[in-house]
Symmetry: C2
């Protein structure tokens, strides 16, 4: 029976933890949410799909929830954090690349002219990302990201980037998982970048992270197998790419989707347009004091078409300023 006891233990531990969790937080699994329509819509959806015998009951294996990352689970201002990582890496790598002194966008960047460097738009950004995200093994890259996230600080708050996560959304993740949901990240960000911290920060294991990626190549080097990161795009997990990435990785349709920008619109359509119990939510950045305020006119995280469609489809729109009691855990 030792075999049984060992297995049973792996089930009993979560139960014990749940007893504590349950008594600690009482009936409210979302304490950082103010009472209101947004919070109510989440709770009501979860109660409907988990109620045995209800017409809207959804079996556990089909309880798939997908979350955008930048602007939905963590902040994305003054620019995407992964881009700040890439800019940092350009400076670190510059001594090995004397040619960058006369080559854009690197030349401007190294002179401190960020605006000039990024004036090349998507092409410039892609050059910076490729130069800093390839040419090493997957394990070397993981260590580079790990070192950066352990030390780099956000320019406005002075906090580690991994602290710039929204406390109310952490509660939604935990609440869904406690109700049998599998939670996924589906982000335009780099899949291998996010995987470094997704488990520790969000409780989302690497196999439940979907993102953009470069190609990798298998090699045997002195008897050691490794994957080299190539300077070649494999997949862009944004806009119409999000349903493609979801299908490729999960192979079934989510029943809940959370985003904050037009880049998430197709993911929310894919999730919520078909009939049946479904839940879609946009986080709207309305709080210039505690976070940032931007939507229809922003170059980062523009929420314009999505806001129109949310109105028509009756999706939940979170007003960060009024719906969230707390934005970041580090707030006083």
């Amino acid at each position: 029976m030792t075999y049984f006891i060992r297995v049973a233990k792996s089930y009993l531990l979560p139960i014990i933890l749940l007893v504590f969790a349950s008594s600690a937080q009482g009936a409210d699994a979302l304490p950082s949410w103010n009472e209101g329509r947004a919070k109510q819509s989440i709770v009501s959806f979860v109660e409907r799909v988990t109620a045995q015998g209800s017409a809207d009951f959804v079996p556990v294996p089909e309880r798939i929830a997908v979350f955008d990352n930048d602007g939905t689970l963590w902040a994305e201002q003054p620019m995407y954090f992964q881009l700040l990582f890439a800019l940092h890496r350009v400076k670190v790598l510059a001594p090995q690349h004397p040619e960058w002194a006369s080559q854009e966008p690197f030349a401007s960047l190294l002179k401190g002219d960020l605006k000039g460097a990024l004036s090349g738009g998507g092409t410039a950004i892609m050059q910076i990302v490729m130069a800093t995200h390839s040419g090493m093994t997957t394990e070397e890259f993981e260590q580079i990201v790990r070192d950066w996230t352990a030390s780099a600080k956000h320019p406005k708050t002075g906090q580690l980037y991994t602290k710039m996560v929204y406390q109310p959304m952490l509660e939604v993740l935990a609440y869904l998982r406690a109700n049998g949901f599998k939670t996924y990240i589906v982000s335009g960000g780099g899949i291998d970048f996010m995987r470094v911290f997704s488990e520790e920060v969000y409780g989302i294991p690497p196999e439940q992270v979907i993102g953009s990626s470069g190609k990798t190549k298998f090699e045997m080097r002195d008897g050691t197998p490794l994957l080299m990161r190539l300077a070649e795009v494999n997949f862009i997990d944004d806009k119409a790419g999000k349903p493609v990435g979801i299908h490729q990785h999960i192979g079934r349709r989510p029943i809940a989707a959370f985003g904050n920008s037009d880049g998430d619109l197709q993911m929310l359509q894919w999730t919520c347009r078909p009939p049946g119990p479904r839940f879609c939510l946009f986080v709207r950045h309305t709080d210039g004091d505690r976070e940032w305020a931007y939507d229809r006119a922003s170059s980062i995280g523009r929420l314009d078409k999505g806001l129109d469609e949310a109105g028509i489809m009756n999706w939940t729109v979170v007003d960060m300023k009024t719906d969230w009691r707390k934005v970041f855990a580090f707030e006083p």
Copy 2:
């Protein structure tokens, strides 16, 4: 407390099932395996990595096991079953393609000359696969595969293809899962083809199936979102592609890998070459009576370099004839 009770239930049910499973099968989780080195190597590995306090203990989240499909979990003779599906689809679709009457490989195929049709090798096979696996939505394709697997019969045994699975390997899958492993398929076969039956046949959910794929494209058609299957290769999950697919989907390295051919060699290297407790196994097809006998010289499922490396690296090689008490569940 209703919330807690509901959650606790989802943990208690597996425990109750385990009590029954445990008492029903006693100490032997692998009853279709004869006693011997192969069986012993599996049990010994699982006991080592699950023993709390042992130097080889592996935490549950890192217990990842990957399985090739064709020739490892189900049979692959007289040819890959998915190719038989594609050949069937050519016949079904022929009336809509009058041009096929004079276009190879379709012309030979429709005249019943299979050998001639496949004489074009990989290119001919790719043409057949593309013509039969694209041009419909992902949901339409799923239904086509579902209908075929529910009715098509294997030419030698007369069994449904989904019955051509190896009973000893089903037991290994269940045994690993009962010990906290997450089991994945990592196959050269089509990801969306396998997902149709992987949960029912192997207990492996769609999100744990990794395979070859074509590109898909998101579209809104009359307000309904859909993914169209394009006639364009996205990814070939074979040979050096297997570690790439594993990294892309799982994002961490497996600690156990099961294959049967040189197409699995890089997956086994990726899994077992690094230090630490690791387990690699090749199924060797040695039973011409109950199944098929083929290895170093076979065009399908060739096991040549892999057999050499298994000897050097001390990986387990299953001799189907002597190690398996039963091959298929339908045997008398």
